[in-house]
Symmetry: C2
Subunit: 424 residues, 2 copies
């Protein structure tokens, strides 16, 4: 890996902050610091102190996001924002989201240490409740900042607490519509949660797009015959039909993945009835999770699966019905920001590649209100959402160095330069 | 269907008895009359009265079986026994088991009406607890009569009742070893619980063998990667591997079923973990229910599945482990009895075929202590173990006529003629 030498960032500071936050967890379930729980507030207290120690003016916005601000030299120029999230899933890791908040903070510290003035204001953000929280929804803070948090979410309830109360208790103002209009660019560092970088031995992934996530539910109905007395060839076995469909789903996804754009599809949910040893299966429900960076690829996939299902239903006399449960479209990252990140990787002597993000991130919502970009750093074995999650401090520091360089490049660009041309 | 004309049996009596027993059910759950419950005792009271009305000396044996006896002309000649079971599964039908008890009773009534004396003693039997009962085991009474009821079963418990108590309350003597040595031949009529006879438009199925039932458990272990970020081709998806195995299981079973002997295999149980939309499946457990009338076919099948599993594990890097959970061997019916049943079908002018029984029956245990045979009658759509179960009264009566003729044929055969030769 590239030596951190004189890149301006401190791996030691990053390591200290990550370790300090790792200690703020439900003790029996490392690492658990869910949004809307006292542990999260404890983590926020730590972050607030560190933001303030870095000279940032620290507030909570109406959407419940923790923001540390460093004013720029040219008021009204706009804001360059960096950040991620400090909340975890239950039994999660120490790096997912946290690495991005700390890397953002480190950029602010490096600018300060280097006496580097920016024209734009700089903000470091810990977005509220990025992970699916106790209220069952995700990216609460970033949706709020982008002005697209659904109003009906406020009444979502867990026990005797509503999301409305949770946002208020986090210091937000849930009834204030809070779309930011001043964010010129947004950068997020995140662990890859995959194995592409590790397998290729690369330092940095420059994210080209956050894939859309479509969920397709398929229900197969056969007939619950006696498994002993019903001859082969006289059955309507829903599992046999489902098995052929699962094979087809994998084949179609692999076909699209071999093309130029990211594509993945997984049958993550699968239930069979009646699930008795001596009864031919009569019912299967399965759920496909399809990730695509292109609506055309998703349509291709859906049409191919429908065609397989129709042929299968005909051949097996098992009825097959599918429906699209949800469909969050792909979000491309800003082309100019992607270029600037690429250039920064090369400028600091690191190795990298472009890749799509198969997981959702706050950046997907920031892309609605700014020119957004993301960088990935390698994580061991791709493991995430588990205590085994691991990223090297030096890898995160290298990522912070890429962000630092890119911030400076973007600072020389103003509003109106959205075509990606940039000087320096 | 063959007219019942002058065959000696009464469809009307059969219909009355079946209707009367159908009325003895948990009222909310037709048709439910489980062994070791008061409803079953109520059904037994009805049967006892009908046995006695037919002139049978009625007792409960040590194994809890209800027996109606008609002494023969030659004491010590042996017993020709007919019967089935009156207990049902929950939400079961009116014919499974019951048709056989009533058909057996009708044979006794027809012999009486016709003034036909037999050399052998004749017994009509309602075996105790043929279906899987509240104690979780099946064929309790027939195993007892064959002397093979496992002693440890007596302590099986449901709530505050043991099987030992259940047998005693049914009138048996659970500690008496009660293997019968005097049964020359046993005949059981049962609904087919399949669709072969109905589809072929045939009256009677002469059962050649009761298939063995083998249960094979297979566990597949992959890796629970993030469904979004893990590229196709870098996964160890246990469901994708399991789907290919299910397809192979169906293909191998179909191959064997196309041969000269009955074969069926069903994946009746299937569970997948973690079963979350955005996680690649890491674990599948499936259970194969394999029915075969030949141990060689079962070995062929097992070996073929093992070979598929080995190749699949290699190709997918998903580990696959299988183990034989249980294996009840096939039970051939007596060749001479099968011939006699065939001849009887022809003699009364009915149509029939030979076929294997894919389901277990009391006859499987009676085959250990006698020359055993079974006949099937068609049931609508093969439906069984459900209130929709239906067999025509005339079909049952025709089956009773076949049994009646066969009893007379077998009566002319004595012990020592087990090679199947018979006069008349």
């Amino acid at each position: 890996m590239k030596s951190l030498g004189n890149l301006g960032v401190s791996a030691a500071r990053i390591e200290d902050d990550i370790a300090a936050l790792a200690a703020i967890t439900d003790p029996d379930r490392p690492y658990t610091r869910r949004a809307f729980t006292p542990r999260h507030a404890e983590g926020r207290d730590y972050l607030r102190r560190r933001f303030e120690a870095a000279g940032l003016a620290t507030t909570i916005d109406a959407s419940g996001n923790l923001i540390g601000r460093r004013p720029g030299a040219s008021p009204g120029r706009g804001t360059i924002m960096l950040g991620s999230h400090s909340d975890t899933v239950p039994d999660g890791g120490r790096f997912d989201g946290i690495a991005g908040v700390i890397a953002a903070l480190e950029v602010a510290r490096a600018l300060h240490d280097g006496g580097i003035a920016l024209d734009h204001d700089l903000e470091v953000v810990d977005f509220l409740a990025e992970e699916v929280s106790i209220f069952g929804v995700s990216c609460v803070g970033s949706r709020g900042m982008a002005g697209v948090r659904p109003p009906e979410w406020l009444s979502r309830r867990q026990g005797d607490q509503t999301l409305e109360q949770g946002i208020a208790e986090a210091g937000g103002d849930p009834h204030q519509v809070a779309r930011r209009e001043d964010v010129a660019a947004f950068l997020e560092l995140h662990i890859e949660q995959g194995t592409v970088l590790e397998a290729a031995g690369l330092d940095i992934g420059v994210v080209t797009a956050i894939t859309g996530i479509a969920r397709i539910e398929i229900v197969l109905e056969g007939r619950a015959d006696h498994a002993g007395t019903t001859p082969m060839g006289r059955r309507r076995d829903a599992l046999v039909a489902a098995a052929r469909l699962v094979t087809a789903i994998e084949a179609e996804a692999t076909r699209l993945a071999a093309g130029p754009r990211y594509f993945a599809a997984t049958v993550g949910e699968f239930e069979m009835l009646p699930n008795a040893a001596n009864v031919v299966p009569s019912h299967v429900r399965l759920l496909i999770d399809a990730r695509s960076q292109d609506a055309g690829d998703l349509a291709d996939f859906s049409a191919a699966i429908e065609a397989h299902a129709d042929a299968l239903a005909e051949a097996t006399q098992v009825s097959i019905a599918s429906r699209r449960i949800s469909d969050a479209g792909a979000v491309p990252m800003d082309a100019g920001v992607v270029s600037a990140l690429d250039d920064a990787v090369g400028a600091i002597g690191a190795t990298g590649c472009r890749l799509a993000s198969g997981a959702g991130h706050d950046a997907a919502f920031l892309a609605r209100i700014s020119r957004a970009g993301m960088v990935f750093v390698p994580c061991r074995d791709g493991r995430s959402h588990a205590p085994e999650e691991w990223a090297e401090t030096d890898a995160i520091a290298l990522g912070a160095a890429v962000l630092l360089k890119t911030v400076q490049t973007l600072d020389t660009q103003g509003k109106g330069q959205a075509d990606g041309s940039h000087s320096g």
